[in-house]
Symmetry: C2
Subunit: 600 residues, 2 copies
């Protein structure tokens, strides 16, 4: 039986003590209706829902997977695993779907600092299920930012209420990372809309039985559009065309020529439908200006990528909770420091230092990643809700710089934690019954989708650091140094963080020099650079945690300080090897002739 | 379609150039019948068999899995995936099973330096299939080393011919790592044999339809046996009791009370049956002396654990071959260093430095691991075949020291390489059709079974290093330094290896001091210590490779030198973080009260 209890105390700690969210909400007019009592109540209710409704469907959803059949008209259709539909109905009726959506279109207007915890709980309890509403919200946000008033009025309330779902249709068989290569066509028709023709793959939640309509956002090329990424436009393509009824309400009507061709068989998240979608002169309406499709997508990318980083926290928390329970229960061998359970034939795993090592890696990752994600979420909220131009600009810069780290580093560490926690189970970790292997399989996708982690690293080093000669990065370093300088606490983390910041400054300057000489340098160094900066971010977060906790009496705070010690001893040292590998540059990887890689 | 071509050139290179196996065979009487022509022929035939017969059953075996049903008498029975039985028949009839087995009992008497390549190819082409003959050989070796002449005469020829299979029945539901806790009973009966009663879990190849009989080796406790690991005995328990026929040949007869109760549903290696085996007063015959069961097992452990290390090579090679093929074929984005395929809309993945980084990590791991496994295999062969007592002792010490590294480090790196190569495929890596996700799922088990990797690390630091105050380790360091001092080649690897050796000496001395003060230190530092020493071993192997290749003209050798450069730049630096984490010790992981780990 899988365990999951939402870590509400941790969430409260971050909101109220580390980031003082209530003051931030009070100080920003458009958030002044948010208060901690309401937030606590919301989080508690979500904790119950995720534990009682979504968690029990986690393994059954994996075992059953989605079903692909054809309906009476011959259209492909996806059936979600048993129980998903009822759970969705319950989730929708409780009004959870639009929690973080703008109140203008029926959402509840909670800030990202709150809705990120909704995402965390959902993804912990049932990653496959959580993807359905998550994708719909992504589509909603994209419409909110880029669509005309008319389109927003038709679609947004239905999406935020959960009546209709949504998708993002970008990837094609030959065009994944490089979306400039897409071939899907959008030809203007007589009715003033477009005929969309083409095929999209890897469409998460591309079809399902949870909602009466699904609103696809489709990237396509208009006739004569420029080649490459500057010639793509975005279209809204509903599964069922929308009509106004007698009362003036929008309803799903006639079937559009958009349908699911097949579903993928995957390593994990098997309860989530990953679809091939075929558009055969399907009717579509342009979102935003022509040839700005990719730009529209990128507006929402920061939110989406934060959500994937949050998935890294979710799997870590889930894996940790299950592994620590097993480590307490399972008796195996005697502790090296003396018998701990004299009445039993062996001591519990938790008494073995190596088991603690694996658990503490996961525990530390869960806490520091959550803290980091909240730091980024706060920047998103500042950028969205603050009226101070300078503050908004800084926040936007932080978001730009840290989003690729959030997505890639947190998902990489999440997979690592899942594997570590599986290892705690020994042979039982490999058996499906125990559920740990599913956590590993599910966790793996977060490193791949929404821009593979190597692409995130290129975004960081190439776009965010190299393009402005490191200005955004150096500004972030200044913030870190300023924070450390003002700390009251005395702990090893201040010096460790300063050292890490100095190392990153030095590494960045070296790379900025090398990049001019070696064109492959960004590509060859990016992943190690991202990991090195990731560890600096973690150190900074631990500095905040230490500053918050030192001097407080309760054991809760004392343990946070101990976990910071553990981080300095057993996690932060990894930063050095990434620095060394990034500094080594791309030369030895590009030294081989192409023939070396010829496959037999 | 999955690709696998046995890396015969690499194997030849190691045998003839790096380790000069032919001279070694010539100089040792019991190996003087082995020559390189025969070995090459054998390897080529195995390459064909693994590619043409086993590889095509790899994915179908995973999709189909093993079937568990009951026979007419109500006994549980396992059916292997379609095609396994025919492939086994072919493998057996070709005489491959006993390739590395002693000729005294019908084997072909090839040394480990050759049979390790048989293992490598088998596990690359079809890990699930390979486990069946692999377990049988393990049981055979155990009998060879510990059983009476009578038992050997009855069983060994049948096992080495492949007519009968075998298993190792150790683990029980509550006793995995700690085999002293087993409860299976062996009670002497009137017939001079024992009645075996109990239940074993996680029994690889515990039942199947490949052979007419299966010979279980079962760990059990006799009445009044001492508690713990010193009170376990080993028994031979055939699935069908063996009778002598009219011609004096041994045949499978009556059914023994040993049967499969269920099979596990696992993350991977789904074509391999992992069984619960129930013994209900099954007849068994003691192997070796009473209460020496674990010791008998440990005799063969070094061979078994080398085989698991080899699995790490196998998955890496398989993952690399498929990923490099994909990287050549898949067009995505333009190279940072200028357009490479002007006629195409994008350049192949192979032109992106980050893709090369992932591929070269795998390529380097495949080559250096193979070299290291051969180094250990040569020590096994020296220990077995040499007549010089001093040389044998040194070889045995090397085997003892390096076996846990071979098992754990190579399987950890194998999993890492599988994940890296999966990442090269982007979203396609997550889809079952492409096969990469199966490689990851299959690779994961090698870190767990045959002693989880944390246990290997404890074996290294606790038993092999701490117990003799580092004597074996320091002797190995002296060998490395001696080798470097005598090198003709000039390359960065000499200094890098010496530095690594110095670092390990320093780390070992620090740990040896700390261990006396802190009882949890071995347990807390072992995994990082193992990884640090692992990287030193890899550096030493690269020194050998460089010494072999420098000054030779062909591009094959030049590329080996380049890969050594890559290793120094992008792999060896990881050693430093493991050293730092090992040096940090166990204090911060043991600083938490037990209550910290209470689960909700």
């Amino acid at each position: 039986m899988r365990i999951y209890n939402a870590p509400l105390q941790e969430m409260q700690f971050l909101l109220t003590e580390v980031f003082d969210a209530p003051s931030f909400w009070r100080d920003n007019e458009s958030l002044s209706h948010i208060d901690m009592d309401t937030v606590s109540m919301v989080l508690e209710e979500l904790a119950k829902f995720t534990k009682n409704v979504l968690l029990p469907l986690n393994r059954s959803g994996d075992e059953e997977g989605v079903k692909f059949t054809h309906d009476a008209q011959g259209y492909g259709q996806v059936t979600t695993p048993t129980g998903f539909k009822q759970a969705y109905q319950q989730y929708m009726e409780a009004g959870w779907i639009g929690l973080g959506a703008t109140s203008e279109y029926g959402g509840q207007g909670f800030p990202k600092m709150v809705s990120m915890f909704q995402e965390e709980m959902m993804f912990s309890a049932n990653q496959a299920f959580a993807l359905y509403p998550n994708l719909a919200l992504g589509a909603g946000l994209c419409l909110l930012e880029s669509a005309s008033e008319e389109l927003k009025n038709i679609y947004l309330e239905k999406i935020y209420s959960g009546e209709w779902a949504g998708t993002m249709c970008l990837t094609e068989a030959h065009a994944g990372t490089d979306l400039g290569l897409i071939k899907t066509k959008a030809v203007p028709n007589k009715e003033g809309s477009y005929d969309i023709t083409g095929s999209k793959i890897f469409i998460t939640a591309g079809d399902h039985d949870l909602t009466e309509n699904i609103i696809h956002l489709v990237l396509a090329k208009t006739p004569g559009a420029p080649a490459g990424s500057k010639g793509t436009s975005l279209f809204i393509v509903p599964k069922y065309l929308v009509e106004k009824d007698d009362k003036g309400d929008y309803q799903s009507g006639e079937r559009n020529a958009a349908s699911v061709g097949s579903v993928e068989h995957k390593m994990g998240v098997k309860g989530s439908a990953t679809c091939v979608l075929n558009f055969d002169k399907a009717k579509g309406w342009m979102v935003g200006e022509e040839n700005t499709g990719l730009a529209s997508m990128f507006i929402i990318m920061n939110y989406e990528r934060l959500a994937i980083g949050v998935q890294g926290i979710s799997v870590t928390e889930l894996a940790y909770q299950n592994a620590v329970a097993y480590a307490n229960d399972r008796l195996q061998s005697r502790s090296d420091s003396g018998i701990k359970n004299p009445d039993k034939p062996a001591d519990a795993l938790i008494h073995h230092a190596d088991v603690r090592r694996m658990l503490l890696n996961a525990k530390s990752h869960a806490e520091v990643s959550r803290c980091f994600a909240m730091y980024v979420a706060k920047q998103l909220d500042i950028a969205k809700y603050s009226n101070d131009k300078q503050i908004v600009e800084t926040a936007n810069n932080r978001v730009a710089l840290l989003t690729p780290i959030t997505k890639a580093f947190l998902s990489d560490k999440g997979f690592e934690a899942a594997v570590d926690c599986q290892q705690v189970f020994g042979g039982h970790g490999y058996i499906r019954e125990w559920g740990m292997e599913q956590i590993v399989r599910d966790a793996r996708i977060a490193q791949i989708y929404e821009g593979a982690n190597g692409i995130q690293a290129l975004d960081l080093l190439g776009r965010k650091v190299a393009r402005d000669s490191g200005a955004m990065l150096f500004d972030f370093l200044a913030e870190i140094r300023g924070y450390i300088a003002n700390m009251q606490a005395e702990h090893g983390i201040e010096q460790a963080t300063l050292n890490a910041a100095n190392d990153i400054e030095c590494l960045t300057k070296t790379l900025l020099m090398n990049i001019n000489e070696r064109k492959d340098e960004v590509n060859g160094c990016a992943v190690n650079y991202l990991h090195a900066v990731g560890y600096l971010c973690f150190a900074y977060m631990y500095a905040m945690i230490v500053e918050t906790c030192q001097g407080k009496d309760e054991v809760f705070y004392a343990n946070k300080l101990k976990l910071a010690d553990y981080f300095i001893d057993h996690i932060l040292p990894r930063m050095q090897s990434h620095i060394a590998m990034a500094q080594a540059g791309s030369e030895s990887m590009m030294a081989f002739d192409l023939a070396y890689f010829d496959h037999m």
